[in-house]
Symmetry: C2
Subunit: 536 residues, 2 copies
């Protein structure tokens, strides 16, 4: 296997899929392989640079691991240190490899789990050793075998408990490892207490080096990372909504492209929010192990971040639904879109302004402005409502001709108002009844596999377009979703406020306003670096 | 810390939150702790039983681990075996603890990563040893220190590459571990080749036992698990849609409850779909390591499952949006709901019938019926369209009185048709303009923190209800989402068909229909066991 290096898991999957297909025809593989070999060094260099450029803390972390390993190796390499510790120094090296993680919280979590697991296992093994101490070798072997079986089964079963799995999984593994190591060794080694003591001592040295490195030298805090990712999620949602509404009213030709392009700025904005659950929970778990590392009064309110993440995810689902309105099967005529362009755009702008204000207040660790739900938002809602009410006949779907006439009238009005709007075509209202009829007649003949493949993918779409649904239906959905979003803003504001109270954020002062605007500019420039340096 | 044991991560989080709060007031803690101690044994027993009952394979796995550990311990305990292998037998025990995972794929992935990592590290360490062999002790110590630093940094940096992180993370850790172990040991031990050889040999024995256990004795296949979870996701979505539409039309009093109850059958149905990304990808990764284990022709098409999972997730977002329509801020009058109850219910039933048929076809490893997008679905769409068109004035929002009259008329018609429908109250159309006015007047006075807390959460809701939005707007969104879902069914069917082709599913035969109905019955009974036994 040839290690291909590129970012993005989904791309990866697809390429793997391609590779599987190419496996079949061997004669094609050799030139493909040769070509890969040619492009490989360039690609590798690019990836190496990209990984470091995306987050420079990775380079620092790599050097930290190298340094820690060299430090604990000195225990073995330097004569005076080796005399004190001996052969077991190797356990310290192993501990550093396994325990030193990217963030301080993860290192603490693993280090403490490893420490307590070892301590507990050592104590238990000592008890077992004490019980079996006066018996013959055969009984002792059987006793050790039974103990290994029982403790092994019990510990493995324990790992299935959700609470244990979440918090102490690694500790249980280390417990099992150490227990077996000591119990089994005790059969042939006399001084089992010394094994346990040495192992614990060297592991403690290893953990100490790891904690020193991760807490004191360029520490990366999980809490900071969780905080930053929350800010970025809020900003992403704000951008998504604005981009989504813009696209709905600007580009009429995009409707037919079905697939989710990963270049899409709308998708980019909400993508991080949708699949954030596992990442958020892991970061929150590690953050819960971290000591207080900021100048603020309380401990880090990681549960609040998880809750806010959940609320944002549910808001994100609404953005996805809004995005879905762009790719609907019932075409909304350009004329309808032109009519409602301004109020919708305005409302979207107001919603994203609120989200941006929340992001800024989180970023600068202060409460958000009490004016956050401004009159502008209310006026924007009013505007949209007026616009909908001013076109009462728009939502009529029963009489097609009448509706079309109304639309033509509305379109004429609209194009008078907006001179720059492109020529409104009413032909976008498609009637595919003929296609449906064709499909039905073809379906009555015997349907074979090949035919089915061609026909199937369009069936339900044909059914929908052939029905001449009220053209206002998708627009109503779009408007309704926008209005719903305004309602959901409350939940987000409430959660952010709760978070601010729990984390003792500073009060909002109107004079901060100027600072905020400057802040926003800076943020947009440094967007490329997803994570800022964690040192608070 | 007191290990509390309960299922469900979110509940867990909340309880942790509670615990943090209780930490503050110490005097309350002692009685709480005492009470916990009383309920603890019962709770523990219940959890132990529940973990095993939810998935009996867990019990089997626990015994498998115990048995494997006892087996490898024999290498150390039995005299003849110990003579051959010696002290290093302990590495085999460690390998079993670390490598033996729940599914065969995960064990294979870890085992092979461990094997190859050790082999590669051993070779590299041997090269370094060869270079430094003829030098003095000081230079040698410096050389070893530098090598440890360089390889440590490089390997850690390598772990940040997305491709490596996804596939070979554990292998790189083991490589680093072994490399350091051998290189550092080589400073004081002469025969480094023997260390490397012994370590590799014992690790190979450990891996062998693990593979034997996980592949041959009650194997749990990741592929099977991925397959079953996909079937369950399809069924969950089907149930969610039906429950959602039922709730929309049945219960008018539920509207005001805002929070997401975890007992909710709708939420239960789509919950598993929404956050499935990381779980799916992990299962697919492990499945990609698994050998062919079914009687079907190809290797397991894990990429197809991941793609289908993505499509289902996007379908799930639509279901969430539909669920959101139940809790909208713009109240839909009961009369409107009654009018469209039957066509919407019928359409939802047809959609979930399609999803159920897809689930059944996946479950029984066959292609789905070519009639899957039946005439019924089309008729249901037609019905809904007719119902919407038959109430043209419903979507009028400009003239309130007129609209209300129309609604009264429509309601009267509806209650004639549906005798059993509850008395339709038109008072549900609330106009909260007075509340808004009050809010505005209060806002002009100085707003203090305490007041803000009380006022804020309702602001945007008041703004929305005060605007008297067209009552049909949320219903239009609801109907539009239902219609959109029908369109998205195509994508799901297409993906399931692709999956069926890739996995060489058997052709659909009309005579299977009877079997399918029986199957469905059986499935519903055994729903409690989320995972079926993996042996295919």
């Amino acid at each position: 296997m040839f290690p291909k290096v590129h970012a993005g898991m989904e791309m990866d999957m697809e390429r793997n899929g391609d590779r599987t297909k190419t496996m079949g025809n061997c004669e094609k593989r050799i030139p493909i392989f040769a070509q890969k070999m040619k492009t490989y060094p360039g690609l590798l260099c690019k990836t190496i640079w990209k990984v470091g450029h995306d987050d420079p803390r990775r380079v620092i972390h790599a050097f930290k691991v190298g340094l820690s390993l060299t430090l604990v190796s000195l225990l073995y390499l330097m004569e005076p240190l080796f005399k004190g510790i001996g052969q077991n120094a190797i356990w310290a090296v192993m501990t550093v490899v396994v325990v030193l993680e990217f963030t301080a919280g993860a290192t603490l979590c693993k280090g403490l789990n490893r420490g307590f697991g070892t301590l507990l296992a050592g104590s238990l093994a000592f008890v077992f050793e004490y019980i079996a101490t006066e018996t013959g070798p055969v009984f002792r072997a059987i006793f050790i075998g039974a103990a290994v079986f029982l403790i092994g089964s019990a510990a493995t079963y324990l790992r299935f408990f959700p609470y244990i799995k979440k918090n102490y999984d690694y500790g249980v593994v280390i417990f099992l490892l150490t227990f077996n190591l000591i119990t089994v060794s005790s059969y042939r080694v006399d001084n089992v207490l010394k094994i346990a003591h040495d192992r614990f001592f060297t592991i403690a040295i290893g953990c100490g080096v790891c904690l020193l490195m991760s807490l004191l030298i360029f520490p990366n805090w999980s809490g900071e990372e969780l905080h930053n990712s929350t800010v970025l999620k809020l900003e992403g949602l704000a951008k998504s909504i604005e981009a989504c509404v813009n696209e709905y009213f600007v580009d009429p030709s995009i409707e037919e492209t079905e697939k989710q392009s990963s270049e899409d700025p709308i998708y980019e904005g909400y993508k991080a929010v949708l699949d954030s659950k596992s990442k958020d929970e892991a970061l929150a778990l590690y953050a819960s192990w971290e000591p207080r590392h900021s100048r603020y009064c309380h401990r880090f309110p990681w549960q609040r971040y998880v809750k806010l993440g959940g609320v944002l995810r549910h808001f994100g689902y609404k953005v996805v639904a809004l995005h879905g309105c762009l790719r609907t099967e019932i075409p909304t005529p350009q004329s309808v879109r032109t009519l409602f362009k301004d109020p919708c755009n305005r409302l979207a702008r107001e919603i994203s302004k609120v989200l941006m204000e929340l992001a800024n207040s989180l970023r600068s660790h202060r409460h958000c402005s009490p004016e956050i739900l401004s009159d502008h938002l209310h006026e924007a809602l009013q505007d949209l409502n007026n616009a909908i009410k001013s076109q009462p006949r728009l939502f009529l779907g029963s009489n097609k001709n009448q509706a079309t006439n109304m639309l033509a009238l509305a379109a004429a009005q609209a194009s008078q108002k907006h001179e720059k709007a492109p020529g409104v075509s009413l032909s976008s209202v498609k009637t595919d009844s003929s296609a449906l009829r064709e499909w039905k007649s073809r379906r009555t003949t015997d349907s074979k596999e090949a035919e089915r493949k061609v026909l199937r993918p369009q069936l339900s779409k044909i059914a929908i377009t052939s029905l001449e649904f009220s053209e206002a239906l998708p627009f109503a959905a779009f408007a309704s979703l926008l209005v719903e979003m305004v309602a959901k803003l409350d939940n987000i504001i409430e959660e952010v406020e709760e978070l601010g109270r729990a984390a003792c954020y500073k009060e909002y002062h109107p004079c901060d306003e100027v600072v905020v605007t400057c802040d926003r500019k800076k943020i947009n420039v440094s967007q490329g670096h997803v994570h800022t340096d964690g040192a608070d």
